[in-house]
Symmetry: C2
Subunit: 455 residues, 2 copies
């Protein structure tokens, strides 16, 4: 017998998870190791030491510890905004007239407006603990930069954020938010780094890309004393921190006797998807569940569906270790009309392996369809979603309508990664009907693939 499900499936403070879920520990086929770009041998902790904090490196390389305790100093921060609401979408179900039950995890109730704060808190805490005084990072759509600015304000570290130039222009208020929290913001590419100068020379007037901003932030970190670099997605320790999303949901679902049939997450570098699905995928890998997992990516940056499964650099300047992943090539830059985040050229290695082994399905969505779904959702559920999250909304609606067609009463669960309050320029484009779609041509893809290293 199932209990009555309230609109919001809250956990009490005592029920908050005290551990992260290390999905790799449950995988038979582990993700391929990172390689040192010079020697092409698996990267060691020492190789990563100049760039990242020790504790994050340890987590990055840990493929066996199933449950990793969350330190008290991070739990304290989490309690400021977690648990995030898990919501039964009664309004949406009614509006779609579907027999499906729909749930979503709302990670946008904190000021940074997305799930990114989960890893920002962790990485900043570890940096503080290690005695560092500063951090650098990049931000695309701006959620990660905002999250890092909040975390650094809280833990008391300096922060320099390289923000993809077009995003800084399209989102002046996102920039202002980051600066209000005390961070230094530099539109990228900039002339503050060699990597930036090089790109500016090669492509004058470029809009920038996440890969390029990463190059600049890394360079700044390794040339500044007591400073390290933090990344908001792609890496396995980031996905580890994000597993708090999935674990909270799992606890709440178990409490109410709910078992999702389909889990849907948007996917850029993979931090939301990896965190959302972690404990559910763990069960699936152990044969305890046959939940269907769907990654949704923008048609304009389709690493799963049209990328190559290959070793590639994490950044445009090709300075990072090589990661085996689904990738468009580090030289790939999404079309200029692409409005939201999810513009990273590659995909986390764990998710890439799982996709390769057919534990994950992937779909693409074009952005006008995504905004159609976003506005429908906003009006029905009362939350204006981030463009990124709206990729998941689009497919959740598709699946719910498919249930209506077949009469099946499936349980659909998706990740609402954040709110769209700092994405109004994109909504304005949509409202003014000046938003367009761009599905990359094969030739555009080949241009990206041409940047792949020969390994």
């Amino acid at each position: 017998m199932t209990k009555h499900i309230p609109s919001r499936l809250y956990l009490s403070e005592e029920e908050l998870p005290k551990y992260w879920y290390n999905l790799r520990a449950f995988m038979k086929n582990k993700p391929a190791p990172m390689l040192h770009p010079g020697t092409l041998k698996p990267a060691t902790a020492a190789d990563l030491d100049a760039v990242f904090c020790k504790e994050c490196i340890k987590q990055e390389l840990d493929e066996t510890t199933e449950f990793i305790p969350i330190p008290d100093g991070i739990l304290e921060f989490y309690r400021a905004y977690r648990p995030a609401p898990l919501i039964r979408a009664y309004f949406l179900e009614k509006a779609l007239d579907t027999p499906a039950e729909i749930y979503y995890k709302h990670e946008g109730t904190n000021t940074s407006g997305s799930h990114k704060l989960n890893s920002a808190a962790a990485q900043t805490f570890y940096a503080k603990q290690a005695g560092l005084t500063g951090l650098t990072t990049e931000t695309g759509a701006g959620q990660w930069g905002s999250a890092m600015a909040m975390a650094c304000a809280y833990y008391g570290l300096d922060l320099t954020v390289y923000m993809v130039k077009i995003s800084a222009e399209q989102k002046p208020y996102r920039k202002a938010l980051i600066e209000t929290y005390g961070a230094t913001l530099i539109p990228s590419p900039s002339n503050t780094t060699e990597a930036g100068k090089k790109i500016l020379k090669k492509i004058p007037g470029t809009n920038g890309s996440l890969g390029c901003a990463i190059s600049e932030a890394i360079e700044k970190a390794v040339t500044t004393p007591q400073c390290r670099y933090v990344l908001g997605s792609v890496l396995n320790h980031v996905l580890l921190h994000q597993s708090i999303i999935g674990v909270e949901c799992k606890i709440a679902f178990d409490k109410y006797g709910v078992k999702p049939d389909i889990i849907i997450g948007c996917a850029g570098g993979g931090s939301n998807l990896g965190g959302l699905i972690a404990p559910f995928m763990g069960e699936k890998l152990q044969g305890k569940s046959d939940v269907k997992i769907i990654a949704v990516e923008p048609a304009s940056c389709p690493s799963f569906t049209r990328g190559k499964f290959a070793y590639d650099f994490g950044d445009t300047a090709q300075t990072t270790p090589l990661i085996k992943m689904y990738t468009m090539g580090s030289g790939y830059i999404p079309p200029a009309n692409h409005a939201g985040g999810l513009r990273y050229h590659g995909m986390n290695s764990t998710l890439s392996q799982l996709y390769h082994d057919k534990f994950i399905e992937a779909r693409t969505a074009v952005q006008t369809e995504v905004f159609d779904a976003a506005i429908k959702f906003a009006k029905i559920e009362g939350i204006l979603p981030a463009p990124e999250s709206s990729h998941a909304i689009k497919v959740a609606i598709d699946e719910a309508l498919e249930c209506k067609r077949t009469g099946e009463k499936k349980t659909i669960f998706f990740g609402l990664t954040g709110t769209g309050y700092f994405d109004m320029s994109a909504y304005m484009q949509y409202n003014a009907k000046t938003m367009s779609d761009h599905i990359p041509t094969d030739e555009e893809l080949e241009n990206g693939f041409a940047s792949l290293p020969k390994v």
Copy 2:
């Protein structure tokens, strides 16, 4: 014995209040009646019929029913975003090193970003129930317009919003949000109404004012079939709807054995303050509590502290019934450097009477001090507050520091009316140090008072 207090004092869905608290029923000195501006006799339901919905008029005139049931159709909407979190400010207490306990009610977790949705939902529901097809309203800072746009999208009514011109310019994304939810937005003053044309002729290039936008919205409503006007503050039925804020808090506090010593609310037209304090003031009026209640208003629009307690019009065009209130005069326009909301010339009649009878204290704050407090709060508690709410934060911090000085362990409770995500232009001004304070001169006040009607 007090229980352990969690960071968030949630109510379950079953604990959600099912009634509004009609504060006037507990007052010995009732607020003075509204007067018909022509006859100067108390306004009757028939007098108000052309402008407002019947049910709202009934509530506006009801001074005796203590508890008014909330219809199911409104409760359903409330469940989409309520209960709003009641938060123990552990981080702030620690940062201030105060013996005081600090709590705040966070009304900004819904997309409109403030408490205004509580009355928007109610007024729109009643309009729908009455068979109307459209509504008009005004908005200053934009929260009310956003709330109405959300409510009208949900209940399926047309909405025209007159937005104070300077706000529409300073907050393009607020405008975009309102339009995204499907409302028609017109910067005020406009040439779509006689009232607007008149003001434009009198003061060409004016920034607009709330009083003027109200005149336009009323004119539009009374000249459109099946259309009525809704107001987001000032009136008693609006405060009634907002009592959901205070009632939720009272239930949660009682559950945990907490009794506030001081309650602090920002005050513009009074909707937040009136809602926040309703059940607590009710107890105070019955001699069951000696809680101190502090209204905080901007120094640039100080109706309580420097206004006159007199009959005045609610709008600039002087078309509304006369309301006995603390007022700057309907001709008063706050200085152009005033960045936030709280720019209405008068104050709700119930709160005015209570202030007159010394049940409420009032303080002013200048805006740079308010933003100092806002940014301190944002960094410490992790929520970027609305400029309006930050007036309450400023005084809550003052009171907590006073406790530190005296060693008293008081319980301080304030209303966080909303978030500042659509107020980044004001934060940018503050960050760029271009924000200034303006305390009106006596002459400026006299100019406002000159517009008061001779009653």
